[in-house]
Assembly symmetry: C2
Homo-oligomer: 221 residues x 2
């Protein structure tokens, strides 16, 4: 397998964590596509992922897999141990629902193309852009918090006492909110408790943006 990603990309982070949780190794180090410099629009990358977003995962001679959630589901199906979805359909629906709150309703609002449109096309200044990032990052976590607070399936992790894809997505969204959005996360204590549990696991910690090749030295320190 070959993974095209970027140190800072949270969609790449989700794939990185899932590979690590399942003990899957890439055939070569993750290939960096600098989405802050616009390299995702290079012709060579567009041929791999016509949406010009990361990640893209090459698994065979066919076109790369695309979209992080689709890749996570693929890894779950093709490397089922340890399971990252519950055994029951209802449990899977809850885990996938928690994933989608982060992956659909949180993360896509703060990616580079959106920040750029706010700046260039709508003339939004930096302060308002930062508020936008913080607002939507936290909104997603607040929704997850309510589910964690009121549903009995919540355990040490989002769903029971072993990590699931919901934790992978929650972790990415906490990084979005706290580290990229500089949000006050004191209003989502259950989310943060789960995040701290996740970060005890090597798969989550070593996949963190700050620990990737390409991350600025002051973050890596």
């Amino acid at each position: 397998m070959k993974l095209y990603g970027f140190w800072r990309s949270l969609a790449t982070y989700r794939v990185r964590v899932t590979l690590a949780l399942k003990g899957l190794r890439l055939d070569e180090p993750e290939i960096s596509v600098d989405i802050l410099q616009g390299r995702q629009f290079d012709d060579a990358y567009r041929k791999l992922n016509p949406q010009s977003v990361v990640p893209a995962l090459i698994v065979d001679a066919g076109p790369p897999l695309f979209q992080s959630m689709a890749i996570l589901e693929y890894l779950e199906e093709t490397a089922p141990r340890p399971a990252l979805l519950p055994a029951d359909a209802r449990g899977r629906a809850r885990v996938r629902g928690l994933c989608q709150i982060c992956v659909s309703d949180g993360h896509p609002l703060i990616v580079p193309r959106i920040r750029k449109y706010l700046e260039k096309d709508l003339g939004v200044d930096e302060a308002a852009r930062n508020r936008w990032v913080a607002h939507w990052s936290l909104k997603a976590l607040e929704a997850v918090e309510q589910h964690l607070a009121h549903e009995r399936e919540t355990g040490r992790y989002c769903h029971g006492d072993a990590p699931t894809l919901a934790d992978v997505c929650l972790a990415s969204q906490v990084i979005a909110a706290r580290e990229y959005g500089h949000c006050d996360v004191s209003g989502v204590p259950r989310v943060m408790r789960v995040y701290e549990e996740c970060m005890q696991l090597e798969a989550f910690g070593r996949s963190h943006p700050s620990r990737q090749q390409g991350a600025p030295a002051d973050l890596r320190g």
Copy 2:
């Protein structure tokens, strides 16, 4: 099963179409939550879906299912015929990837809460807001178009010659772009060909926003 939705909601549309494709019937007519009037924030609805978004699907005595993609996957698992995901993991990854382009990177950018934030918090005028809706709605379809153009799995529908969840999501995104965003869709001919195929099927047509209880008379005509 009980479905909380809204005539105009494209996430509700996706659930409606999937129920219809699988021949599943609700126990009572869809329950309307007027998201244009902010009824999703009413206490009664928040208890059903703490994120205050539609849809929510009640399937048993437990909390409702939430997030359209999670609901679609649940319906696929619990009512597997006709199958709306391919039999092979790679095919499923492609279909889910196409779904996510629409559900994660297209639709969440144009929902009422975002339009409201643009207006109220960023002071964006109506013309610029309309351009935002059109831009992001079409961007998602352009990405789908590239996949349809260059991947050999494309058939009469997105993936082969029978409808899949990718078609359900594509159809919702075409409605976003063409009907809500008033986009020129001439640049995505393969998407539109698939959409027209979908609309030949009763499940897609009768689920259309304009044909729902609550839609304005001029749309329903």
